[in-house]
C-alpha cells in the first residue's frame, strides 16, 4: 500500500506527524499503522515488559493496545495531549489489567513483604537499577524515599493504591498523598512532554 501524500502541515523533517498517521489509519491505511508501530513499538513493549515481566504476556499486551488503536483511532483526542502519551497510557492500562489478572505471575514477579520492608530495596530498587535510564533515575532520586517507593510500585509494578498500602504497611491515605506528591514533583523535574524516538515532542495539537 503506497503512502498517501502527506498533508501540507507535515512536521519539520517532512515525515508525517503522529496525528497525521492516526488520521490515515482511521481511513484504513495499514502502512500508517505500521509506521506508528515503528515509532512506538519499542517503548510500548518496554513498558509492557517491565510491568508484565513475562515476555509473551507483554507481547499480548502490545498487540491488544495496537489493535485497540486500529479498531478505534478516534478514541485518541489530540486536544487532550500527545499521541505518545495516549498510547503509552493505553499500554500501561492493558499491562496492569493483564498483570492484575495473572495473580500467580505477580507473586513471582514482585516479592511481597520481604524485599519491600526495607524501603530502599525491593522491586522498585531493582527496577531503578536495571532498566530505568539515568535521567529518570536521577529524577526519581530527587524524591524522598517514601515517595519514590510508592511511585515505583504503582507505575512500574502495576499495583493499586490499596495494594501499595498493604505491601508497605503504610496507611492508605498516606499512600495516596505520597503518590500525588511524587508525581507532581516529577512533573517539575522531568517535564511533561513525551520524548519518544520520533523527535515529536509536542502534542499534535500544537
Amino acid at each position: 500500500m503506497a503512502d498517501s501524500p502527506g498533508p501540507p502541515a507535515a512536521s519539520r523533517d517532512g515525515r508525517p506527524t503522529d496525528f497525521e498517521l492516526v488520521q490515515r489509519l482511521a481511513q484504513g491505511d495499514r502502512s500508517a499503522f505500521g509506521e506508528l508501530y515503528d515509532r512506538y513499538g519499542t517503548p510500548s513493549y518496554s513498558l509492557a515488559r517491565r510491568i508484565c515481566v513475562d515476555p509473551e504476556l507483554a507481547e499480548d499486551v502490545v498487540q491488544e493496545a495496537f489493535l485497540a488503536l486500529w479498531r478505534h483511532p478516534a478514541r485518541f483526542d489530540p486536544t487532550r495531549g500527545s499521541f505518545g502519551t495516549w498510547l503509552m497510557t493505553l499500554v500501561h492500562h492493558r499491562a496492569v489489567d493483564a498483570v492484575r489478572k495473572e495473580n500467580t505471575q505477580r507473586r513471582r514477579t514482585v516479592p511481597l513483604t520481604d524485599d519491600v520492608s526495607p524501603p530502599v530495596e525491593g522491586s522498585e530498587h531493582e527496577a531503578l537499577v536495571s532498566v530505568v535510564s539515568a535521567e529518570v533515575r536521577a529524577a526519581l532520586h530527587t524524591l524522598p524515599e517514601e515517595q519514590r517507593q510508592v511511585i515505583a510500585l504503582a507505575y512500574l509494578g502495576g499495583y493499586t493504591q490499596c495494594e501499595v498500602a498493604k505491601l508497605t504497611g503504610v496507611p492508605l491515605g498516606t499512600v495516596k498523598s505520597r503518590t500525588f506528591a511524587a508525581i507532581r514533583r516529577l512533573r517539575g523535574t522531568l517535564g511533561n512532554l513525551w520524548a519518544g524516538e520520533t523527535g515529536e515532542t509536542t502534542g499534535a495539537n500544537r
Binding site: D54, Q63, R80, Y155, T179, I183
Partner: protein, 238 residues
C-alpha cells in the same frame, strides 16, 4: 462508604499512574468528565508518568511487528460515526460450515477429571505459563479432538473466566497464502476467534458467551469475516 470531592481531586496522581482500582477509576472518570482542572492536571501528570515508562528499554522481539500487523489485517475498524455492525451478517455461510464439519471425522475425548486430564493440564501449565491462570481455574475443562493427518487439538474452557485456550499439534501447513482461522460457534453461527499463525500457536479466545463448538477453517491470508473454507476440525464445548 462515600468518596468526597476533595478526595477525588487528589486522585489525579493515582489516576495518572493508573494505581486506582477499577471501581475507583470509574468513579474518578465520572468526576473527570465534569472537572476541567482535574482533566488538565491528569493530562500533564499522565505525560510525566509516561516519561517514567518510556525510559525502560526492552527491545521488542522482531516477530512482534508482523504479528501486530497481521492481527490488524483481520480486525475490522470501527467507524466513529456508525455503531458496530451486527455480527450475524453473513450467516448464510454458517450452514455450509456446519455441514462441512459433519463430514470430518472427529473424535471427541472427554477426559475431564481423570488423571490424564490433570497431567495434561499440568503439562500445559508449564508449557504455557502465561496461561497458568486460566489453566488453574477451578472450572477449567479440557476437551480434545483429532483432525486431519493425525493432528490433534485441545481446548481448555473456563466458563467463569469466559475464556478458552486453543492449542493444536501436528497440523499440516495451510496451503500457500492461506491461514487457519478459529471460530467460536454459538446459536447465531460462527464468530472469528483469531488466526492460528503459525498453526501450532496457542490462541486465547474471550467472550465465549454461549459458544457450543469451536471449529478451524482454512482461510485466505489475513483471515475472513465469515468462514469461507471447509472446517478441518471441530470441537464440541458443551
Amino acid at each position: 462508604m462515600r468518596t468526597t470531592s476533595v478526595d477525588l481531586h487528589t486522585l489525579t496522581g493515582a489516576y495518572a499512574v493508573n494505581a486506582l482500582s477499577d471501581t475507583e477509576r470509574t468513579a474518578f472518570e465520572t468526576h473527570l468528565a465534569r472537572c476541567e482542572s482535574c482533566a488538565t492536571e491528569v493530562a500533564e501528570l499522565a505525560a510525566t508518568a509516561t516519561r517514567l515508562g518510556a525510559a525502560v528499554d526492552f527491545p521488542p522481539p522482531p516477530h512482534l511487528r508482523a504479528r501486530v500487523l497481521a492481527a490488524a489485517a483481520e480486525t475490522r475498524q470501527l467507524s466513529p460515526h456508525t455503531p458496530r455492525l451486527p455480527r450475524t451478517r453473513g450467516w448464510g455461510r454458517a450452514g455450509g460450515l456446519l455441514a462441512a464439519a459433519c463430514l470430518v471425522a472427529v473424535a471427541f475425548v472427554a477426559v475431564q477429571g481423570t488423571q490424564s486430564d490433570r497431567d495434561q493440564l499440568a503439562q500445559l501449565s508449564s508449557q504455557y505459563s502465561r496461561f497458568s491462570d486460566l489453566l488453574s481455574t477451578p472450572d477449567a475443562r479440557l476437551v480434545s479432538a483429532s483432525g486431519p493427518n493425525g493432528s490433534t487439538a485441545t481446548a481448555v474452557v473456563s466458563v467463569s473466566r469466559n475464556e478458552l485456550l486453543f492449542v493444536s499439534k501436528d497440523m499440516p501447513a495451510p496451503p500457500a497464502d492461506h491461514v487457519y482461522q478459529l471460530w467460536l460457534i454459538d446459536a447465531d453461527g460462527p464468530h472469528s476467534a483469531g488466526l492460528l499463525a503459525p498453526p501450532s500457536a496457542p490462541l486465547v479466545a474471550t467472550g465465549l458467551s454461549n459458544a457450543r463448538k469451536v471449529a478451524i477453517t482454512v482461510e485466505p491470508q489475513g483471515g475472513s469475516q465469515v468462514p469461507t473454507g471447509d472446517a478441518l476440525m471441530e470441537i464440541a464445548l458443551a
